[in-house]
Symmetry: C2
Subunit: 568 residues, 2 copies
């Protein structure tokens, strides 16, 4: 990014709040929001995101924090709303860039972050401050007060952020659940107090802004589980997301009630369970959790297996069980498989394939179309209306969601008492200024890019590498090697051809011989103007273009042609 | 495929019906079903399918007809239910393998097939017989009677197939629509007659076997369009599938009613419109259809643009309009964009991205979640129950659908009077035998594969090519070239390294130099046992393995390593 631009943007004199989303606005995932005032910046969340379909081979994506790096001196603290990957997954990478900046998180969230940092060998680097709902944390010009919300993981908070210009409420991810498994209900009374105090700006979760009605309570899932557990005669296999601690609690409750043991398959879920149980956020009756090996020796009707892989990911435990290639468990007739999840857009096909494999093995499948075995952790439209009506903010910015979700949420705010001028729809890298009087999206924005993580590389995969991967994914690669006598520019021996992912070479002798003839022809033509200072780049370009044309004419495919000239 | 196996399977003596699905069972698309008795085979449909996500670079997939080729003498005719790609798209390829076999289709369907064959230069090769509902076509031991159904395209039929063992009903794709735009209602009376005659076996469409209730009538879409057209003040842009002739009719009706002209964007839709209008299946008031260039010169409130690209396909007209890179049209503020379609599973993300681009340009979007602008062409559960209860078949095989859909439809049949023993869930390549008394799925099955079409190649892309494409899609390719003196086995010059899609080479000099050192080391080791008859394959394998290991250690990526040894 251009640091001059950034420097221009930040002016310490003017007394305006600046809202600068660095991730999660215009997309689902890698949530990160900077809020600044004068010489102070605070940051809410540091998440990661799964790669989009065109990001071939990329493991995951994290926010671009160049803007924060450049303004590191001003960054007073990072405040985390809850322990899901799309809010904490970027922390190890952010920490490397912003060492010394303190992180603030509630107890469970802090535990999950710590576990993650240990894996990255970074646990000693972090300055972690454990906070709890209703604390008041003063940093720079801000006073931050976490308030209790409900989500699909315990210990989730939103932030009331007091600034010299007025009160900002950031909801974090939330739903209005009056019967969560841990009994810690979203603090409506506190929200009402903020309302009385006067809310200048509301930043509210837009994930389900297009879904009518209310998200069901997690208590409904518990009921469904009890019904299903009462009927099941064989093994019960439940797939869900690794970090839905509330769901894990419901499974444990159901298993305990019906005298079954629970075995966990999937390292991330196992880790989360351990952290949550240790910190007292999961109630596990003694002896309820067993190892997978133990479970395999028990009668089928005494076992619940809880697993990751609800999205049909190719290498996940459940997909392997469904294909019969899991090391320990194969799905079998009599098993009842519960998909306690909802498809993440784009995964529908993979999930369908997995479902088919499970059914082919004779097991029964229950998903959220058949029974209430999943509820969303994000507020639906009626809950979003409730939040807006309760807080009566002067200004409104929808956060967390794809652009169409943000637009839907903005329309909802407009229908619920926020003036149109008071609503700003913004995306990552845009900047909105807020004062007591006005909210204005700036024309300038911060140049921002998705930072792709692939193996050990962070940010080294860019558009060129992706474009090459895409080209080879479509039609493969075609390497043509010409060994040329540097004395006379003539070809030595026969040109070598290697191709992968293009055609099945053994059945295409004629095509390959034709390509060799092309190479001979091009080298011969090139050799005509041959001299001692020969520039091979012209011949290389000719090989690439003319071979490409030859191959397209004969196959209507466009493999990536890599010409190699060896002069000896 | 092993032709010996096939020959064994076919025995001309025994008097049993054989049901042999060649496509569309266990998947959505490339529908094709062989029905045989003694010396006779008839085939229903010859469709194509879009590639699944792991079929990188493949254009589309067609059924494997090796079984029919091997039994070509017995194939008496191919009967087409309707003109959608998943029922006719494979015909050009099937025709090349089964030349001389007559095709039977209703008028519109025949017109659409002819158009397709002209594009392939095959129109003179085909023996096409135009049929109509209630005809009786005798071929071999079969008498085939098409009956009128309703679907999202006019002139769709199912087939009543009389055999010496009894009556088989194949529904084709259908819904129970009593108010289709052309007024040609599904022929319930004829179905009741078949029921009286006695139905031995029902093969029924399972696409929506998991959807509760009824599919809405196409008439509901017309109502929604009229409502929307009445409100629209700017341009109306409607995206749908190219072959939904009924939908095109509704758009034309709405435009005519409100004094707008319709311009079509998308060659396939244009073709279908021309064929359907010419044959009288689309009623187009004179002057209603204009060219895109004309439409661009008219006032916005006089224009409807109908386009393909409702699935967010990257190169489609609508996606390009949304990105502002379409040659003629860009979406602008005031446009009303209607997605008159439903997401095909797996396309959700692409559609969301396109939606976001449309909204960013300030246009309004209406999709089937906001208004009834799309209805399915496939029967929902209540309609499927109606079909089963009307026909009261002795035996039942669910067709057209992924395995979980077939299972759901089988359960429905069992709940609606078909005995469990009378229901067979089968997939492509499996064989079921049916007599008056019994239905039995055989243990043997026909070896069958998805035939992938990529450019000019039909079936030449197999597992090896796909695996290579997948590998390069993930981590790219790494070519290492060692030029070796064949006199002494020593390296000449510095090893050449070319890589694409792996790392950005310019920033990775150290890594690349390290790889060169690896090559030097390996060649040196290999040269120790050097002799005149040197076998380079050992050194090639060492280069591949050890370079692969070196690169993984340093990047945790696994590019495809292609070692090249040039001995001079």
């Amino acid at each position: 990014m251009n640091q001059v631009d950034v420097a221009k943007l930040v002016s310490p004199d003017d007394k305006k709040i600046r809202i600068v989303p660095l991730g999660g606005l215009g997309e689902v995932g890698k949530n990160m929001m900077a809020i600044e005032y004068g010489e102070d910046i605070i940051v809410v969340d540091s998440g990661m995101m799964f790669p989009t379909e065109e990001m071939l081979g990329v493991d995951f994506v994290i926010p671009d924090v160049a803007y924060l790096e450049h303004n590191k001196k001003k960054v007073r603290g990072i405040f985390i709303t809850h322990g899901h990957e799309d809010h904490i997954g970027g922390i190890p990478f952010v920490l490397r860039k912003l060492s010394g900046v303190p992180f603030h998180a509630t107890k469970l969230t802090a535990g999950m972050i710590e576990r993650k940092l240990i894996e990255h060998g970074l646990d000693r680097e972090m300055q972690m401050k454990v906070i709890k709902a209703d604390d008041k944390i003063k940093v720079g010009s801000f006073e931050i007060e976490p308030f209790q919300t409900t989500h699909s993981i315990p210990d989730a908070v939103g932030f009331a952020i007091r600034t010299p210009e007025g009160l900002i409420i950031h909801t974090g991810d939330f739903k209005v659940d009056f019967t969560p498994p841990d009994g810690k209900v979203i603090n409506m009374a506190r929200l009402a107090e903020y309302s009385r105090e006067g809310v200048l700006l509301l930043l509210s979760d837009s994930t389900n802004a297009k879904k009518p009605g209310y998200a069901m309570s997690e208590a409904e899932v518990e009921k469904s589980f009890l019904d299903i557990f009462a009927q099941a005669e064989g093994r019960i296999i439940i797939a869900s997301f690794a970090s839905l601690i509330n769901r894990i609690q419901n499974v444990i409750n159901g298993a305990h009630r019906f005298g079954r043991k629970v075995a966990i398959s999937g390292r991330s879920m196992q880790n989360n369970l351990e952290v949550a149980a240790k910190l007292g956020y999961l109630k596990v009756p003694a002896g309820t959790i067993v190892k997978l090996e133990q479970a395999m020796k028990m009668p089928d009707n005494k076992v619940v297996i809880m697993s990751t892989g609800s999205q049909g990911e190719a290498m996940s435990a459940l997909a392997r069980m469904a294909e019969g290639v899991h090391r320990q468990i194969s799905i079998k007739k009599g098993d009842m498989v519960i998909l306690s999840s909802t498809p993440i857009p784009g995964n529908e096909r993979k999930i369908s394939n997995m479902l088919d494999n499970i059914l082919r093995r004779g097991a029964t499948v229950i998903d959220d179309r058949k029974s209430q075995v999943h509820v969303s952790g994000h507020a639906y439209r009626e809950e979003l209306k409730l939040m807006i009506n309760l807080l009566r903010p002067k200004f409104f910015i929808p956060v967390h969601g794809e652009y169409h979700m943000l637009v839907a949420h903005a329309e909802l705010a407009s229908e619920n008492g926020v003036t149109k001028d008071g609503i700003v729809v913004m995306e990552n890298g845009e900047v909105t200024e807020v004062t007591k009087e006005a909210i204005t999206k700036l024309k300038r924005h911060i140049p921002i890019s998705a930072v792709m993580v692939d193996g050990l590389g962070v940010g080294d995969v860019g558009q060129i590498v992706l474009r090459d991967r895409q080209a080879m994914a479509l039609d493969g690669v075609f390497v043509a090697i010409a060994t040329i006598d540097k004395q006379n520019g003539k070809l030595i021996g026969s040109p070598d051809i290697i191709s992968r992912g293009f055609v099945y070479m053994r059945e295409q002798e004629e095509l390959i011989n034709g390509a060799r003839d092309e190479v001979r022809r091009i080298v011969k033509t090139g050799a005509q103007g041959f001299g001692p200072q020969h520039d091979w780049s012209v011949m290389r370009a000719a090989l690439r273009d003319e071979l490409g044309r030859y191959l397209y004419e004969h196959t209507q495919r466009r493999p990536m042609v890599l010409p190699v000239i060896i002069s000896v």
